[in-house]
Assembly symmetry: C2
Homo-oligomer: 240 residues x 2
DNA sequence: CGCGGGTTTGAATGAGTTCAATCACGGTGG
DNA sequence: CCACCGTGATTGAACTCATTCAAACCCGCG
């Protein structure tokens, strides 16, 4: 809960009333181990999910095994708010780490935001941001070099995590295997490794078993033309 | 209007009442010549647009001139429904052909759908489809070869046009310069030309000054793994 | 110790780019 | 009517970035 509240707290002044409205929603808390499915291809979507903790990916696998990750889902992220109409999912969602998620029936969710304009606005913002992230992903893999792609992606994850984490350190650990970065960026694992080495040599990042540390955020953002404004993180701060 | 109605008619049974609700919306009809801007980067978004006729592109230009087209906007398409909150656009929209568009103030739009559940549902579907198109674009440029990309894109445009055009011919003209395809697919113009030649040699398409004809839709869909279900065109038909 | 998953490195290959020249074509003006 | 342009499409050759295949490596864990 706290991550979601921190998240939408960026967008609107959320009051106690709205907060309880969210909290009282009938929901189920579920957990998934790394690699377990959350939404399968072809499954009906009749609930929305909120990631309470952990990481998940939304992806599609082509016939011959090629996999493309559409986006990463971090604590505080909600999905599939768009699938609120009877439809079957055309892609899968899978846990990367251990994931705790809150499942709310679509109907309950709708009635919860019905008379709470500020909540509705907040979730609208969440959708706007989600779509902006997809657009940015298109630009990234369509027109950027491998080095730019990787740097840009790392910075996006960094900023998104910073928005929900209380710790505002400049170097944030990203516990993510290179295979995931490869499938997200449309690159081969080998080339991600090489490119990451380059970023390391140039002093932008450091790697270790726990993940990737960003050492020179500003320089890297400059190098890969990362502008965080598409994430719309510049809104009001939470005041509970 | 008719294209939009045909479009959302795919999703819900739209009645006369809803139809008039749409039609009576206070709006401005504007036109743009080829190459003229519709939405500029950094502009406030306080209206939604409906393409009445013509084609437009949504894109971003990087510092050094690289351009990535995010998606194509065809007759019946609506945007920026997501930008309904005070925000500045982080990308531009430009007319490709002569474009006629209907501009509706965000507030008017919201109140128009407020008491018309079927309309609200229809526009929800439009958003769902829009997001699905973005996801498909990510998969396309992330993990498909140039030949697959091109074929897949042509088929998507073909299907989307067929959904709003009355003519249900199997071979549809696509009046689109190769430079646009290149920037949409993340390829160079030269390589689009070569790849298109290949599609031509293999009998999938024919080209001439008026555009591109798709000759073997089924074979091409098979070759590039195109499944049209993400477009959600399999809904109810219009009954006015 | 030995196994296994993820990472790194090297060498060969390949897909797509870049540069530059040519072509096709419709429009314009003499 | 024809010469001239300009834009978009095509072709060739050299080049580059990224992939593939294969081997080595690292490290945590049973």
């Amino acid at each position: 809960m706290k991550h979601l509240v921190a998240r939408i707290g960026h967008y609107v002044d959320i009051g106690l009333d709205e907060f309880h409205g969210l909290n009282d929603l009938t929901h189920r808390i579920e957990t998934r181990r790394p690699g377990e499915d959350i939404v399968r291809v072809g499954e009906d979507v009749d609930s929305i999910f909120v990631i309470e903790s952990g990481w998940a990916i939304r992806f599609r696998i082509l016939d011959d095994g090629r996999r493309q990750i559409i986006n990463f889902m971090l604590p505080g992220d909600c999905f599939d708010m768009m699938g609120m109409v009877k439809a079957k999912s055309d892609h899968a969602v899978t846990a990367v780490t251990e994931v705790v998620l809150r499942r709310v029936a679509t109907n309950d969710f709708l009635s919860a935001i019905y008379n709470r304009p500020s909540l509705a606005t907040a979730f609208w913002w969440v959708s706007v941001q989600e779509e902006a992230i997809l657009r940015e992903q298109i630009i990234r893999i369509g027109r950027r070099s491998a080095k730019e792609r990787l740097a840009h992606m790392l910075l996006e994850l960094n900023r998104r995590l910073a928005a929900v984490e209380e710790t505002q350190t400049d170097t944030i650990k990203l516990p993510i295997p290179q295979a995931l970065l490869a499938d997200a960026l449309g690159l081969s694992i080998v080339h991600v490794s090489r490119t990451l080495s380059k970023l390391r040599e140039e002093g932008y990042v450091a790697t270790h078993s726990a993940g990737i540390d960003i050492l020179d955020r500003q320089g890297m953002a400059n190098m890969c033309d990362f502008k965080s404004n598409y994430l719309h993180l510049d809104k009001l701060k939470l005041n509970l």
